[in-house]
């Protein structure tokens, strides 16, 4: 963990963690998929061939170009309002990326902070935080999110806050457990003897040692959060229309499913699947790489 204080005897080539991650061993496929989605999200305005929120009602339910009736103008077809599916998928990547990352970070910051406070301070602070964590963990995440969404109403940033509120408990649990063992370690005791304040110890000595676990958890959480966001949008309490979110596209596409308009559901579904799969693969890899203790989870 905190190697920097003990490296005197080690030759420099063996030491820091940075050297442990080499390009060749990176999980390339998930990284490429995530990078592609991120690229689509960032340059959506340039990449999308059409306006994702405006369609021509005369051009409804056009199939992808390789099917009879499709054209190169709408490569992946159009939806029930005549909007270009490819453009909506590209802009949908933006929603998923923004919601996924901000919610994971929001939940991570809150959960890690509260986990450290609970673990290090103990006593009633620990009791209050962990009782809330236990109780909130009893609610299925999606149900809890639906409940909150029903109260605050749909908007992209509300979803971020809701997902943060629902998922911080996962971090708090794990981080608290680590802090409990960390605070018995020598370097923390030394810091106490040296007269560091509690705040300094938590910030300078505890936090750097739990960051790895938090990052691993965050990567694994990314997939979960994206599925939850898509589920909320699918149920109509997520990102409000006409904003193009993948979950919303699936839910709209449901109407056309019975008559065989497969591209309206299969394509956004595949996008969600690819993103979640990549996040999970990356998370598993990071878990093994950064935190051998978490391997058993």
């Amino acid at each position: 963990m905190s190697m920097s204080s003990e490296i005197i005897v080690l030759p420099p080539s063996v030491t820091p963690r940075a050297a442990a991650i080499r390009l060749g061993e990176l999980p390339m496929i998930p990284l490429i998929i995530l990078a592609t989605i991120a690229f689509m999200a960032i340059f959506a305005d340039v990449l999308a061939p059409h306006n994702p929120e405006v369609g021509a009602l005369t051009a409804r339910f056009r199939p992808p170009f390789w099917q009879a009736g499709g054209s190169m103008d709408h490569i992946l077809g159009t939806d029930q309002l005549g909007r270009d599916v490819l453009s909506r998928l590209i802009f949908g990547a933006r929603v998923s990326m923004v919601v996924g990352f901000t919610a994971v970070i929001f939940a991570g910051v809150v959960g890690t902070a509260l986990g450290i406070l609970a673990g290090y301070l103990g006593g009633w602070v620990d009791q209050v935080i962990m009782r809330i964590t236990d109780a909130w963990l009893a609610l299925p995440a999606l149900t809890f999110a639906i409940f909150l969404a029903a109260i605050v109403g749909p908007s992209m940033w509300n979803i971020v806050i809701i997902l943060g509120l629902v998922y911080w408990t996962r971090y708090a649990r794990v981080v608290r457990g680590e802090v409990l063992s960390l605070k018995e370690r020598e370097f923390v005791r030394l810091a106490i003897v040296a007269g560091c304040s509690k705040l300094t110890i938590m910030r300078r000595h505890i936090l750097p040692n739990v960051v790895n676990s938090a990052i691993v958890l965050a990567t694994l959480m990314l997939g979960v959060v994206i599925v939850t966001e898509a589920s909320l949008s699918f149920l109509g309490v997520g990102v409000p229309p006409p904003q193009p979110a993948w979950g919303l596209m699936l839910s709209d596409g449901k109407q056309g499913l019975m008559v065989g308009y497969w591209w309206l559901t299969v394509l956004p579904g595949c996008c969600i699947m690819l993103m979640v799969l990549s996040a999970n693969l990356l998370g598993d890899w990071l878990r093994v790489k950064l935190d051998p203790q978490l391997r058993q989870l």
């Binding site: 109780a135 009893a138 609610l139 997939g223 497969w262």
Partner: protein
């Protein structure tokens, strides 16, 4: 033992208390809860009646008392849309949810346990990798996508199964598959790791030393013991399935509790949403308590822990 039960019961009650406080708090933190609890387009009189009923002009702790008093009486409020008590609606839907959950559970165990055992017995070989891939897909494929693809293939293209509704045994197949898919992966993972642990134990080594055939060792000695954690998880998951089926039930228009929650959202029927959430949380806290108690009976080490 008595001490353990008391402490564990206390924790569960505390969890329920925190849950009720959470729900109470979130409903009130966003402004006037009457706006949520009153029908869309209600008159001034209706709003005044809600204020009266929940004592919204009184101090917060009095309001919480009133809220809890009505919850404990089983009064979850009146559904705006159905004009019947929420609790009755919930009980009406529960058997359907239970049926779906049971079939999905059966499916997930039938797939999860054999594949988990196969992966453990052939660890590091082809079936293990196939199992890992299956688990990864199971945990990564959102249930609504699985559901919609199933409809596309089996209802639209092949015309074998009804795409939505309930009533015949055929109706339950696809929703159960879509719901059980994720859990099958979870059960497979646990069976594999539990089986690996058991296979490394002394008594399995002994059975092997005695010269028992492989099938006998696995089937008789290892299988039974490896199954204990899996069955525990299955017990918890059954309750979880009832409460997380909202997406699957929406896709297949299955009239269960999840569908009720969805109707609650789409008709802006807040008492229904609140009721389903409270019931879900309560069920899960209770089942966790039961599992812990059963475990304490089986395994004395647990009840002796601090």
């Amino acid at each position: 033992m008595k001490q353990f039960i008391t402490r564990r019961l206390g924790y569960s009650l505390l969890s329920l208390l925190v849950l009720s406080l959470t729900i109470f708090f979130f409903v009130r933190v966003t402004g006037d809860p009457a706006a949520l609890l009153v029908e869309p387009g209600a008159s001034e009189d209706d709003i005044a009646a809600i204020h009266q009923k929940f004592g919204l002009d009184k101090p917060l702790w009095v309001q919480y008392g009133l809220f809890m008093a009505s919850l404990l009486r089983g009064d979850f409020g009146q559904s705006f849309y159905y004009q019947t008590p929420v609790f009755e609606l919930y009980l009406d839907r529960l058997p359907n949810s239970l049926l779906l959950a049971l079939v999905a559970m059966a499916f997930s165990l039938l797939v999860g346990i054999p594949s988990g055992i196969l992966a453990a017995v052939r660890v590091g070989r082809f079936w293990d990798s196939a199992g890992k891939l299956f688990a990864l897909l199971g945990l990564s494929l959102p249930s609504f996508f699985v559901g919609l693809v199933l409809i596309l293939v089996f209802s639209v293209y092949l015309g074998w199964l009804p795409s939505s509704g309930s009533g015949t045994p055929l109706h339950v197949i696809m929703p159960a598959f879509a719901l059980g898919w994720y859990f099958a992966a979870a059960h497979m993972r646990l069976t594999r790791s539990s089986m690996l642990e058991v296979l490394g134990s002394e008594y399995v080594k002994l059975a092997r030393l005695k010269g028992l055939p492989q099938s006998w060792v696995i089937g008789k000695h290892a299988f039974k013991n490896a199954l204990i954690p899996v069955m525990t998880l299955a017990g918890i998951n059954l309750v979880l399935m009832i409460n997380v089926a909202v997406v699957v039930e929406t896709v297949f228009a299955w009239p269960g509790v999840g569908r009720l929650l969805y109707e609650g959202i789409s008709f802006r029927d807040f008492p229904v949403v609140q009721g389903v959430v409270i019931m879900g949380g309560t069920m899960i806290v209770v089942v966790n308590l039961l599992v812990d108690l059963v475990y304490a009976v089986i395994d004395p080490r647990i009840r002796l822990e601090k």
